[in-house]
């Protein structure tokens, strides 16, 4: 299959997936106990007030009608307004996306060279000292959950040593206004993806270096350095690309734990707030954004894998 045809087919499937996700999320949100009116009423659940709120928020209409309206608006590019604040959902998404995208981009920028580089180094001498040290570190680090690592780093570097700001409080989402606040969240976000990607690169390289075509190239006298970079690496990177896609996806969804500990007002926080408030249009908007991101990132990864090792891509 040609690359453009493959891409077109996958894009079409992706669009269907986004609508599917939106539908499932709508059904699930509706299935949650209580609605925005109940949440707004809080501990003053006067039934008449709840009824009035429900009427005001247009929650009286059947769920399927509200869903179809929302879908029609979506088709024309309108994500609607928040049930609670009446501000446009698009604004909420943009505000939440800025810090999330920044963190994701910075993480990836460090992650790829770091993990691929160290993975390749470890693969040079399988079982060597460097390999064993890297493996031990990677497995150990991978075992630490994000929130534990985050709290630990804050306690040590933020509070005790006071080398770095413990939270991003006060930046208002503009993390670049004080780049130091990025340091600790970046370390946490890097930790586990670094482990899995460096391990994958290492394994891929070792396997590729044993492959027939590399052995053939070696017999032809291709220098070792060229052998690794040109002949082995592309094959080793196909699984890495797909793992990287999963990581990117995870980062772009807003890593809630990291956002909560460091007070980064990103997409994860926005989603938690919206679900708590039963703000259905905002929940829907966020889920569509996340679904589109997921589909796009995975499509890109598959296309890269397709390019790197066509047989793998075609089989997928």
């Amino acid at each position: 299959m040609s690359l453009p045809r493959y891409a077109a087919r996958r894009a079409l499937v992706g669009a269907g997936q986004v609508v599917g996700v939106a539908t499932v999320v709508f059904v699930l949100t509706e299935a949650l106990p209580g609605d925005a009116a109940v949440v707004i009423a809080g501990d003053q659940p006067d039934p008449a007030r709840i009824a009035l709120l429900r009427d005001q928020l247009d929650l009286d209409r059947p769920a399927w009608q509200r869903y179809l309206d929302w879908l029609a608006d979506l088709a024309s590019g309108d994500l609607g307004v928040s049930l609670v604040s009446q501000r446009p959902v698009a604004g909420v998404l943009a505000a939440g996306a800025a810090p999330t995208v920044l963190l994701a981009a910075a993480t990836l920028l460090l992650l790829v060279p770091l993990s691929v580089g160290l993975g390749m180094l470890a693969a040079r001498r399988e079982g060597g000292r460097l390999d064993r040290a890297l493996s031990a570190t990677a497995v150990g680090l991978y075992a630490v959950p994000e929130f534990a690592l985050a709290l630990l780093l804050v306690a040590v570097f933020g509070i005790r040593l006071a080398w770095l700001p413990p939270t991003a409080v006060g930046t208002g989402g503009d993390l670049l206004s004080r780049p130091a606040v990025l340091a600790l969240p970046l370390v946490v976000l890097l930790a586990r993806p670094f482990c899995s990607l460096s391990r994958l690169t290492r394994a891929g390289m070792i396997e590729a270096m044993r492959a027939e075509h590399v052995a053939h190239a070696r017999r032809l006298g291709v220098p070792e350095r060229r052998l690794r970079l040109v002949h082995a690496l592309p094959n080793a990177l196909a699984p890495v690309a797909q793992q990287l896609a999963r990581t990117t996806d995870w980062l772009l969804g807003g890593v809630i734990v990291v956002e909560a500990v460091f007070v980064v007002p990103g997409l994860g926080t926005a989603l938690v707030d919206a679900v708590t408030a039963r703000d259905v249009p905002t929940v829907q908007g966020l889920c569509v954004l996340v679904a589109v991101t997921t589909v796009t990132v995975n499509l890109a990864a598959d296309l890269v894998a397709f390019r790197l090792a066509p047989r793998v891509g075609a089989a997928a």
């Binding site: 949440v39 707004i40 006067d46 009035l52 909560a260 007070v263 919206a274």
Partner: protein, 521 residues
């Protein structure tokens, strides 16, 4: 009008370390600084600076409409930018604010209110018309503002502006406690015609600067405030939903004031020079709500057995980590009209067992509704279950959905964890304990009790009112549905640079989360 009600996202914690005596101790804390070394607040107010206060927030859903204020940070912001005609003092009695005074007619149905000379941030004077407009907006039948239930008593069509600084409010029925209404939660005065609050204009001590919903709000000193201009030049509200993040921001020098911290935090940093804890005693009533209209708690003996089996000090020590005081099955300890002449109930397990036996309830399984909707609820349920076991009752904790908890327990179940912030005792009764109350979680409906209430609020005689409040509380103490086991302190952490934070302000009262009397350095 109720307590400041955090939406479920907001972490609610008002506990502390040392119990009752701590409040008095912290009250003197700020005054005791003496010659201040660098970095510690002086005991005299200082002008200038920007105070950064970090609160739990409501995300992108936050609003600056003072009539919609719901969360702690929204309540505090509303207080900074707007004024009410009256507000709650430290004992939850009513203090005049924008109103300089009020005078009812002999029938208690027409109240003449005199306004202070005050101006909005844009320079316009605060007039009677602004008051009438604000109250009309709040009570608009098509909208659902929180204060509407309290203000509905006002007949706006019969009310009028006598002149710019005098407003005459007509009531639908005689009501001696009308000033309570003027101080109702969310009853703020906004300029006539104001309906959008993207850039709010109020008459409060701070004027609007910049707003990012769920992130920050910057306010600026309003030099012409009628109650004296603030000491601070700027006040910045920041948001951190996790309590640990709030205290970390304070420790890291990213904030000067962290609202609502846990007793564990207070204990951890007790000896830390970077943190100062202020305790506001009597802030939150902690209770169990028994539904008196259905089995098993329609049985008076069983209710009394519940009162007597409760080891209150143990609940205070465990659930509140000692940061609070025991309750006496009555709301409003330390507030105006509180019946402190009623003896404190102490555990009497023998009598409790006898009453359980007499009610035929031995071995009875009683579901206790709880949810992680307020701090300590889940712990309360497990500690109480243990206590009930000793008299032969099997109380089983049943954890519900935190987002819908209050609605669920209003009508469902038989026994539920309950709490309330500060409000006048009259308000507590009218909202929760009358046949007509819309949030009557104990289903307490007694015509004779309603009559006592009616006598209290329709009498011009202070002695008659006091007597009626006392009688009502005696009935509730003897056989009511609220088992009030304690009152929790509300805890706030500040940097030592911050001065003037009042400790004598239960949550929801005027001086709580108030910044115009606070200074830096």
């Amino acid at each position: 009008m109720t307590s400041v009600i955090p939406m479920p996202a907001a972490r609610l914690t008002r506990r502390g370390l040392l119990g009752g005596a701590a409040a008095a101790a912290s009250a003197t804390l700020l005054a005791g600084c003496g010659d201040s070394p660098t970095g510690t607040a002086s005991d005299r107010p200082r002008r200038g600076g920007r105070l950064r206060a970090v609160f739990a927030g409501g995300g992108a859903q936050e609003t600056l409409d003072p009539h919609l204020a719901n969360l702690f940070n929204e309540a505090s912001r509303a207080k900074a930018m707007f004024d009410k005609l009256a507000d709650y003092g430290p004992d939850v009695s009513i203090r005049p604010r924008l109103a300089s005074g009020w005078e009812p007619d002999a029938g208690l149905t027409r109240w003449r209110i005199t306004l202070r000379e005050a101006t909005f941030h844009d320079g316009r004077p605060v007039r009677a018309a602004d008051v009438l407009y604000s109250y009309a907006r709040i009570t608009d039948p098509k909208r659902a503002f929180r204060a509407r239930a309290s203000l509905e008593l006002i007949d706006l069509r019969g009310s009028r502006a006598v002149d710019d600084r005098t407003v005459e409010l007509a009531l639908r029925r005689p009501f001696a406690e009308f000033p309570n209404v003027l101080a109702a939660f969310g009853a703020y005065v906004v300029p006539e015609g104001a309906d959008a609050f993207d850039r709010p204009v109020g008459s409060g001590p701070f004027a609007f600067g910049a707003f990012q919903p769920g992130r920050s709000l910057l306010l600026k000193r309003y030099a012409d405030h009628w109650d004296g201009a603030p000491h601070l030049d700027e006040l910045e509200y920041l948001v951190a939903n996790e309590e640990s993040a709030r205290i970390n921001a304070l420790l890291g020098g990213q904030a000067d004031y962290a609202h609502d911290v846990t007793p564990t935090t207070a204990r951890t940093y007790a000896g830390d020079a970077r943190v100062r804890i202020t305790r506001m005693a009597n802030s939150t009533m902690q209770a169990l709500a028994m539904k008196v209209d259905r089995p098993p708690f329609d049985n008076r003996d069983l209710r009394e057995a519940m009162f007597l089996l409760t080891e209150r000090q143990q609940l205070v020590d465990t659930v509140l980590s000692g940061a609070g005081q025991v309750g006496n099955d009555l709301f409003g300890k330390g507030y105006q009209h509180y019946a402190d002449d009623i003896a404190q109930r102490v555990p009497d397990l023998d009598r409790a067992r006898f009453l359980v036996e007499r009610a035929g309830a031995r071995g009875l399984r009683i579901p206790l509704d709880t949810a992680p909707v307020a701090s300590g609820f889940v712990e309360t349920a497990s500690v109480f279950a243990e206590q009930a076991r000793q008299v032969g009752l099997t109380v089983e904790a049943r954890s519900g959905n935190k987002d819908t908890y209050w609605k669920d327990i209003l009508t469902g179940g038989v026994l539920a964890c309950y709490r309330s912030g500060a409000m006048p005792i009259e308000t507590h009764i009218s909202q929760r304990l009358l046949s007509t109350s819309t949030t009557n979680a104990t289903r307490w409906r007694r015509p004779d009790f309603d009559a006592l209430y009616a006598r209290a609020v329709s009498s011009t005689d202070e002695q008659t009112r006091r007597q009626a409040y006392g009688d009502m509380q005696r009935v509730l103490h003897a056989e009511g549905g609220f088992l009030v086991w304690g009152f929790a302190d509300f805890l706030v952490a500040t940097s030592p640079r911050v001065g003037g934070v009042s400790a004598a302000a239960p949550a929801n009262t005027l001086d709580w989360a108030r910044f115009d009397k606070v200074w830096l350095g």
